[in-house]
Subunit: 229 residues, 2 copies
DNA sequence: ACCCGTCTAGTACGTTGGTACTAGACGAGG
DNA sequence: CCTCGTCTAGTACCAACGTACTAGACGGGT
């Protein structure tokens, strides 16, 4: 095994940019460091380092000037995808490739809307990942066909702008549901009536396709909709 | 960055075993392959391949005869930790090092009880991981001090065998609760009455310190008590 | 000016769930 | 043999939840 791939990956050698500088952002040191080493082995790629938190990523983007940021979706101090536009604002030339374990549809959509140049599931091969990095570096926005197939039906069906997104308040309620709170307890926290909470729960449940708070939580967990895990 | 570590890691060079053969079992191709390459770079370690499922791991253990299995806890076709004893039965000489993202206490305990030789969180450094692999290969069962500190209070407090453990049936019910099912639906799945389900739910909730299925799920999620996520 | 989405609050009714018990069957272990 | 834990089933009662509506306030956008 361990197919040593100095194989002719893709013949279209980049000439304009000598080396693509990559920053790996993932709280899993084991993954991030391994990946950084693998990238360093590629002649046209180089890691500028590893960041385990968004805060560290922000700092390293300004100090190490990467071309591409390989960004995990779930980080200790926040949602990676949600931070994409902020990171891009720090250094507009960076391309962001989201590297995620879950690959739930809504994350994919959010990443693309935030300006990600690529999206790779951690279950895919290293070759696919390096391809995505190279594509991103050369200005292309590539999504794997597999993911694209999932994405299209979300965007195309008539001109409907997708009502499925939860509102701010609904996400807030969902967060409290995730804490196992009763409607009454949620109402108390938010300083509103139980009726209002019931409405929010009913609405967000409908959007998630759930018929109870329990099912809503189950789905939210499965799809990785919760920020703090 | 990318501190090239051909540094004198540990001076106690293994002489008896020339090279430790490692099998990486993780459904995240990106991690597994990167890790395999990193291990191949170490002079005393070599990857014999990568397995993305338990089924594949079983096959590769018999065909590639690894010395150490680096095992992820959460795999597509089952719980890695739960499969430890089974894998060890296939080839009794193998040492298992569990590599996990969550590192919830009960997983740690289960891994050790199943005969794991090491336990490393994915958030730790590569150095810690390779150390654990080398330690496992040489017959030592090493747990990082950080994890050990968490483990001790679980085993020592008087001789109390801890009644908090869920029974098999309760775990089963909890799994169905995690799918968002109603008591009636759970009863149907298990072919028992709703009363029985209510009892199980009440009992497991009490053990978890919850007062509702929702809260039980919330706690189970927070503590990483669920096998498939 | 108007519409739309969101947040808020309410009424009403039926369903589900939680709590507190009792109790029989069964298997493992002292 | 008897005990203990577990799984099973039941009764009974009240609280919580889900559903289906209506409706006012408010802000952003056309």
């Amino acid at each position: 095994m361990s197919t040593h791939s100095s194989s002719a990956d893709e013949a279209h050698a980049e000439i304009e940019a000598p080396v693509t500088r990559v920053l790996v952002v993932d709280d899993h040191e084991v993954l991030a460091s391994s990946l950084a080493r693998v990238l360093d082995e590629e002649p046209d790629l180089a890691s500028v380092g590893v960041a385990g938190t968004l805060e560290r990523a922000r700092a390293m983007i300004v100090t190490t000037a990467p071309d591409v940021v390989l960004l995990d979706h779930r980080l200790p101090d926040g949602d990676g995808v949600a931070a994409i536009s902020e990171l891009r604002a720090l250094r507009p030339s960076i391309k962001v490739v989201v590297l995620t374990a879950s690959a739930a549809d809504h994350v994919l959509v959010a990443a693309i809307e935030a300006g990600a140049s690529g999206f790779v599931s951690k279950t895919r091969s290293l070759g696919e990942l390096t391809s995505a990095v190279r594509a991103a570096a050369s200005g292309e926005a590539v999504i794997s066909p597999e993911l694209l197939a999932r994405l299209l039906p979300r965007l195309s069906p008539s001109g409907r702008p997708r009502h499925q997104e939860l509102t701010e308040r609904e996400r807030e309620v969902l967060g409290l549901v995730a804490e196992g709170l009763s409607n009454a307890a949620i109402a108390e926290r938010l300083v509103v009536s139980v009726h209002t909470v019931r409405n929010h729960v009913a609405n967000l449940s409908a959007k998630l396709g759930a018929h109870s708070k329990l099912e809503a939580l189950s789905i939210a967990v499965r799809e990785g909709l919760l920020p703090g895990r």
